[in-house]
């Protein structure tokens, strides 16, 4: 498929997944506010911003100046989709387009207090988009670029949430019996990755930092974990690389870089992660993901100009000039 189209599909999937992650954060800030009173939990979850309460939620949902806000994600995904609607199913395009239409309509200006229900609504539509992709697309290149975007974004989002809490998590992993406020905090981390219920079912134990990190980082079968996401991303990238190789072209370095990130989470035990330092481990994963994304772009998506191109153009011009002189 066209490199430009693949590039846009990859980013549509990333923005959709990012929107879902952001909407979970909105949910979590509300829980924290209600459970933990005045203590400031937002900064570590959301990043370094100087806001609280409804202002945080406005920033996360509706602030068009925030490039990662929910409305910004939806707008970016829809704007890209518009140019490549022929590469996705009509159902997928209509889902995004009507979601965007409902955000753009001035009649639905939202009272600030309703950010949580708004975020949930948008999340459901974005998840529906992912579901439509799953059920309406053939498993060829467009599908693999969407999968790649979704999983790369998810691995990155989860790693980022963990990293922002890494000091507290590392400190907490020493204490055996966490107290009330800590439990609220750890639950918030799980919720912000949509993983609280699954964790409860999987461990059926109190939330402890070490298990939490193990679950979100290393679990092989839970779809929100970093390991699961990197595995999914690698599978799709391998499929794409095979197609490219079959056409006689280099599969590019992204395959190795992403594979290295995947090996880290596959082959490291949770004790080793803490021994080596959680923050360093997570930062390394995030760097590998960023590097793979760059390499992916260079090989598959931008398809850097072929060296012969300008020569070809010059030659065509000369041929044309010669022909015109003959007339």
């Amino acid at each position: 498929m066209l490199s430009r189209v693949a590039d846009d599909l990859y980013w549509v999937a990333r923005y959709v997944e990012r929107g879902i992650a952001v909407s979970r954060l909105v949910d979590v800030t509300r829980h924290l506010e209600l459970d933990a009173g005045t203590e400031d939990f937002w900064a570590p979850l959301v990043g370094a911003i100087d806001l609280a309460g409804d202002d945080v939620r406005f920033y996360l949902t509706s602030d068009t100046m925030n490039p990662d806000s929910l409305v910004s994600c939806v707008r970016a995904a829809r704007t890209l989709s518009r140019g490549i609607r022929e590469a996705m199913s009509s159902e997928m395009w209509e889902e995004l387009n009507s979601l965007y239409g409902s955000l753009a309509a001035p009649t639905v200006a939202r009272p600030r207090g309703e950010a949580v229900s708004f975020a949930r609504l948008v999340r459901e539509r974005l998840q529906s988009f992912q579901g439509l992709a799953e059920s309406t697309l053939a498993r060829d290149e467009p599908w693999h670029f969407l999968e790649l975007g979704k999983f790369v974004e998810r691995a990155d989002d989860v790693a980022r949430v963990l990293n922002r809490q890494s000091h507290l998590l590392a400190a907490g992993s020493q204490t055996k019996d966490p107290t009330g406020p800590d439990v609220v905090r750890w639950l918030a981390v799980l919720r912000s990755c949509g993983s609280a219920e699954a964790y409860a079912r999987y461990y059926s134990l109190r939330v402890e930092p070490a298990r939490l990190v193990e679950f979100l980082l290393l679990n092989p079968i839970f779809p929100q974990s970093v390991r699961f996401s990197l595995t999914g991303a690698c599978l799709s990238l391998d499929a794409l690389a095979a197609l490219r190789s079959a056409a006689g072209n280099e599969p590019g370095p992204a395959v190795r870089t992403l594979g290295r990130a995947r090996a880290q989470v596959e082959l490291t035990a949770i004790d080793e992660v803490f021994e080596r330092g959680l923050e360093g481990f997570l930062s390394n994963i995030q760097e590998l993901i960023a590097q793979a994304s760059e390499e992916l772009s260079a090989t598959y998506l931008r398809d850097e100009p072929v060296p012969g191109r300008l020569v070809g153009v010059a030659r065509a011009t000369m041929i044309m000039a010669a022909q015109q002189q003959q007339q």
Partner: protein, 486 residues
Amino acid sequence: MTTGSRASVLPSYAPGEFWDEMFAAPGQVRPHYADLARRLTTLSSADVQKRQRAAELSFQAQGITFSVNQDPSGPEKTMPFDLVPRIVTAEEWTRIERGLEQRVRALNLFLHDIYHEQRILRTDLIPAELVLGARGYRREFRNVDVPLGVYTHVVGSDLVRDGRGTWFVLEDNLRVPSGVSYVVENRRVLKRVWPQIFTDYRVRPVEGYPQDLLEVLRAVAPGSDDPTVVLLTPGVHNSAFFEHAFLAKSMGIDLVQGSDLFVDDAAVYMRTTRGRRRVDVIYRRVDDDFLDPLAFRADSLLGVPGLLATCRMGRVTVANAIGTGLADDKAIYAYVPTIIKYYLGEDEILPNVKTYVADDPTDRAYILEHIAQLVVKSVNESGGYGMLIGPHAPKKDLDAYRARVRDDPRGYIAQPTLALSRHPTWSVDHLEGRHVDLRPFILFGRDVKVTPGGLTRVALRSGSLVVNSSQGGGAKDTWVLEAEPC
């Protein structure tokens, strides 16, 4: 629903002094509209409004929109859609079909002649300077042989009917005619929101258009058995982008932009995730001027450097061919009946509208004197731009156009103001007559094929004669009826 709101939408309808497509006289419905009229009389205005709303939502959700004035940040609009279909009988259509085929064949012979021997210019039938001075004439394309001798693979001609119901060709669009996606989508939406009305009629389907187009494009490929066909679009900011995406998707071909293509060693390639891939046929929706910055406008970012040269060598087919704008120049249009006679030895089946070419001194004098009764058009503009409707224009506009015609006579033509036919059209809560035209689409590959239907454009403002979507026009589904089995 109470009987009060069931007030029918039809009885008050006044056909007026124009040719009305549905009514032969007040209260007297033409036979082929009888079943539809019966349906309409059983309908309350609330019903119509509900279905009208459903249609609009359907267009919105699918993103069937165009942007106005190429303004990227501007609002995207849907083309207003009128529920009441326009019906054309099988006999009427047969004549239209034959007339359009004749016209398209003659125009292609004309283009071939002008880009090769220029036989017609050695007669006194058409002034050579009019042809060679046309802005659409591309000297660079002379002596290039196009596959099958076909220059215009897709044509959209605008037809109108006058006060007596006679069909005329108002103009031919031979460059990058648009609107066919509405033909297909209007039908689809009407079937969805008002399926009942289809039970009374046998309407010829239009949804085969994309496949027919693909067949044409494959037929003109330079020598490959399994050619790669792409659609070249200027991008999402183009007002017809929806159509480009729609056609590419329906044909299952790649929708490319100029930056996706490059020329290397006298062949066109596209950049794909698996590496470069050779392109054989480009269905371009980009004007000549922007196709190749090396040959035409150097500031164009929409085109492909080296495309013209590759095309001249016959290594890629561009559809429509480069230089077809010559034949839809509005001053050349005036000579189409002559062109038909010269190349085919036949009289035209569909007449032209009487046209005064300002380049001709006698015609020019007539235009200057009678400008207030005429429609004056710039020869190269389309979309309702660069046009003066004399009877509706204030004096300062008349003066301005007089000056323009004097300064640049080659740039203008004039036609009598036509009393375009009208069609019952939904207006707030009842039906009113609105002026309509019809743009059928003609495909030309191995054969000529006219899609049975077309885009009926309707001037939504009361009394307005301008049907262009950029100027507040809407559209209707157009039904061509199956011939009665005999």
